[in-house]
């Protein structure tokens, strides 16, 4: 599955990194604690979170994540968007909850590994 398919599935808005929506998704990870994402997230994972501050982009870039979904109608900070743009990390926003996003992804075969 690629990021663009997630965009369509969630009817999400892509606020940065639109040029990388062909990134292949290796699996999914959901957490709001960045240190756990760094410890447990894997390259190519799509990350579902409610954190909107710019350090999420540094973490995604460090791990080589395929995309970040900011769930629960959280609006990312301006710096987050510009940093995701320059780091070419697709940043998706949605009003759906973390639980709903994870469920929808799981249904489509994105596993938690």
């Amino acid at each position: 599955m690629i990021v663009q398919e997630v965009v369509d599935l969630l009817q999400a808005e892509v606020v940065a990194g639109i040029g990388k929506c062909d990134n292949e998704i290796s699996g999914g990870y959901a957490s709001d604690l960045l240190s756990y994402v760094m410890g447990q997230g894997k390259t190519g994972n799509i990350w579902v979170t409610m954190q909107g501050h710019q350090n999420i982009v540094a973490v995604a870039s460090l791990l080589g994540l395929s995309a970040i979904v900011i769930a629960g109608d959280v609006k990312p900070e301006k710096e987050t968007i510009s940093k995701a743009e320059s780091e070419e990390i697709p940043l998706l926003i949605t009003t759906l909850s973390v639980f709903a996003v994870s469920g929808l992804l799981y249904e489509k075969g994105v596993s938690g590994a």
Binding site: D32, L33, L34, S35, M38, Q51, G52, H53, N55, A58, S61, L62, E77
Partner: protein, 248 residues
């Protein structure tokens, strides 16, 4: 003699990966002296390697340095911890070192972590990743800090990231916080209405400066105290012995 002291209790130096390179201890002290900031706490993320240089730089000036750190707990809550004496901060630093994540900093993504002396000379680069959480929770941090004789102030409780209120949803009543800090985003008089969780805790404001421009634009807290020490500030926060917080 009792008088007003202007304090900025939350200032980052070049050791913090997110701080600008102009934030050397010498430059911070110079600007503090020029702009009438009497008390400055150097509070880098999970480290304190530039505090000694700040003490050195402040010699012969009217600026008083408070040794401190901005700690990130396991819950990713940011806490300002302040001590009276450097030796207490060193004890605290040992505790922090035992609970580091073990990750190394990625300078390209998070920023460089410079250790400098009082003349702005580069002494070294801190290899550990500072912009991450320690493996120790909020209650343990507060207990240890209080045990060493320091105080804990919850950083920028009005901000959406790394604040005690957003991370936990409430302020634990039993951890012994000395105060909560409100950032430049919120007028302190409105803070209590917007964040009722603050309750009866004293409120301070600080610049959380990452640039000299942040530092000069404030905010700061004005204390009415007898001398620029942590114990006087503690009394002011409690409103004891005629000491008080004049203005946030």
């Amino acid at each position: 003699m009792m008088r007003q002291f202007v304090a900025d209790l939350h200032v980052h130096s070049v050791l913090s990966p997110c701080a600008a390179v102009e934030m050397t201890p010498r430059n911070i002290v110079w600007h503090a002296a020029k702009h009438g900031i009497d008390i400055v706490a150097i509070t880098d993320h999970n480290a304190c390697d530039n505090v000694v240089a700040a003490f050195e730089a402040a010699k012969g000036t009217n600026v008083v340095i408070l040794p401190g750190m901005e700690v990130e707990t396991e819950e990713e809550v940011h806490m300002i911890v302040l001590f009276e004496k450097m030796r207490q901060l060193k004890v605290w630093e040992q505790f922090v070192k035992l609970h580091m994540s073990g990750r190394l900093n990625d300078e390209k993504r998070f920023g460089p972590q410079f250790i400098v002396d009082a003349e702005d000379e580069l002494i070294g680069i801190k290899p550990e990743m500072l912009l991450t959480s320690l493996r120790v929770n909020l209650a343990e941090v507060c207990e240890k800090v209080n045990c060493v004789g320091g105080i804990c102030i919850a950083s920028h409780v009005d901000r959406p990231a790394n604040s005690l209120i957003t991370q936990l949803g409430f302020i634990p009543p039993d951890v012994g916080l000395a105060a909560v800090e409100v950032s430049r985003l919120t007028n302190p008089s409105e803070a209590i209405k917007r964040f009722p969780a603050i309750g009866n805790l004293p409120i301070v404001t600080s610049s959380d400066a990452h640039t000299i421009n942040d530092f000069l634009s404030g905010p700061r807290t004005v204390f009415y105290i007898n001398e620029p020490t942590l114990s006087e500030i503690q009394q002011a926060l409690k409103g004891k012995n005629l000491r008080k917080v004049v203005r946030q």
